[in-house]
């Protein structure tokens, strides 16, 4: 692992904007960070004195806590802001909120927002580093990165690997980020779901579409099972949850009928018995909890790569100031 990390720039908005090299550089950097969480003292002094604001305008448990652990294990000072407890309910705009935070001298913002493009909008308006923790149906880059890391842990090479994303592709920023990331790294990508939940024309991205879960399972080596977003189901995209499970649920009999051993991922939170059955989620194919563990390492890597590091001093760094 002697490859120089590829600079990421100021922000991490989405994997669509990154090169394969940049994505690999994040994954490689995440490897040594895994070990820090296994230590007795789970802390390294990397971001000492940096202030990070976690601006979560949409509910989130896993992602917020994962970011918070990553930040704290790198010794950053963190503040959490959620929509309900902030001036947002009083009508303050996103930019005004951020500018007020800037005025208190912060260094990074991790943003989760219900509107696609919110992270980019913010990044273009404030000098702090901005990390997208999910914006509308656009992207959720750190989730896709931890998926990629987990897949790589088990299958070693992503190039040529057949990965199928199953479920609600239409509303899913996780699906989009995964598609971009997987394609950049040379994987073959399939999507599978009810026709109402697979965007028309998605083949143009370079993915293949499966209408039946059985065909997807026969083709794929890895399944990334997405949550059926119940809160976005008002529009009548599926007739019933039971029917969804019947036709698209990832079940043990379906996995056992597969020609090879599949790896099953799920970004959580799971609807057990809907998109994934309990015996699969808790069974030997599942790497769901390892995804959660890897999430902290990947976020540490992103924070590390984005923080500080003035490019004009790159030369000085190469000469090495340490003896």
């Amino acid at each position: 692992m002697t490859r120089e990390p590829s600079p990421l720039g100021k922000d991490l908005i989405g994997l669509e904007e990154l090169t394969g090299e940049q994505i690999l550089s994040i994954l490689d950097t995440a490897e040594p960070f895994k070990e820090i969480s296994e230590r007795r003292i789970k802390k390294v002094p990397v971001l000492r004195g940096k202030t990070i604001v976690n601006l979560f305008m949409e509910p989130s448990t896993r992602t917020r806590i994962s970011f918070e652990f990553a930040e704290k294990r790198l010794s950053a000072d963190t503040v959490n802001i959620s929509a309900s407890g902030s001036s947002v309910v009083k009508g303050e705009t996103l930019v005004d909120t951020a500018r007020n935070l800037e005025a208190m001298r912060i260094d990074m913002v991790v943003i989760r927002h219900g509107s696609s493009g919110a992270a980019r909008f913010l990044a273009d308006r404030i000098p702090s580093n901005v990390i997208n923790a999910g914006d509308g149906a656009h992207e959720h880059p750190t989730q896709a990165l931890l998926d990629l890391l987990t897949i790589r842990d088990h299958r070693h090479e992503l190039e040529g690997l057949k990965v199928c994303i199953v479920g609600d592709i239409l509303h899913s920023r996780v699906a989009r980020s995964n598609i971009f990331g997987l394609l950049r790294l040379g994987a073959e990508v399939g999507v599978c779901g009810p026709m109402t939940l697979v965007p028309a024309g998605i083949e143009a991205l370079g993915v293949r579409v499966f209408r039946r879960i059985e065909e997807a399972i026969e083709w794929a080596e890895v399944l990334n099972v997405l949550r059926l977003q119940l809160e976005r189901m008002q529009g009548g995209f599926v007739p019933s949850l039971r029917e969804y499970n019947r036709f698209f649920g990832v079940t043990m009999p379906r996995l056992e009928a597969a020609p090879r051993d599949l790896l099953v991922l799920h970004p959580g939170p799971m609807n057990r018995g809907v998109e994934i059955d309990s015996d699969v989620a808790d069974g030997p194919h599942s790497v769901i909890l390892q995804q959660v563990t890897n999430g902290v390492a990947v976020r540490m890597a992103v924070l590390y790569l984005l923080a500080g590091g003035a490019p004009e001093r790159a030369e000085a760094a190469k000469k090495g100031g340490m003896g």
Binding site: T2, R3, P32, I41, V44, P45, V46, G309, G323
Partner: protein, 186 residues
Amino acid sequence: MGDEKRIILMDAPAVERALDRMAREIVERNQGTEDLVVLGIRRRGVELAERIRAKLEEDEGVRIPSGALDITLYRDDLMEVGPRPVVGESNLPLEGVDDRCVVVVDDVLFTGRTSRAAMNELMDWGRPARILLCVLVDRGGRELPIQPDIVGRVVSVLPSQQVEVLVPEEDGRLAVELVTRSEEAR
């Protein structure tokens, strides 16, 4: 890159002899091999530490736990330099470092900043009974109040010169060389 002049300070047999003596000194300082742990600082310190460990195990007929320290995240200039340096993995022996005599091995001791970083990292891992700093070359030029316990060779060189330790695993040969780069190169 401009002109580069290399002078061999120690050839392979000289390095081997120095490492032999350093291994013996470690046993002497620790009054035996009990509770010894040998840790190399990435990258070349790791190769040197492995050699010292092998010598200790051969001479004393015991198994010595060993590992590697990557001090990147503990650098005091981490947030000033860019792009981000590559982070390597630290591997501590299963036995841990608590109440042990930890021998930290590095190739060249210069400013002392790397040793400071290594000690901080070790402290985050546990509470060693004792830390011995063991370096193949002490080239002077300290910026921190840090002194080595066991030294292969002390050399006195100009601040602009570089002392490079070469190991077969990384460089194809075992040697210590003094590198002088001409003015135009810098």
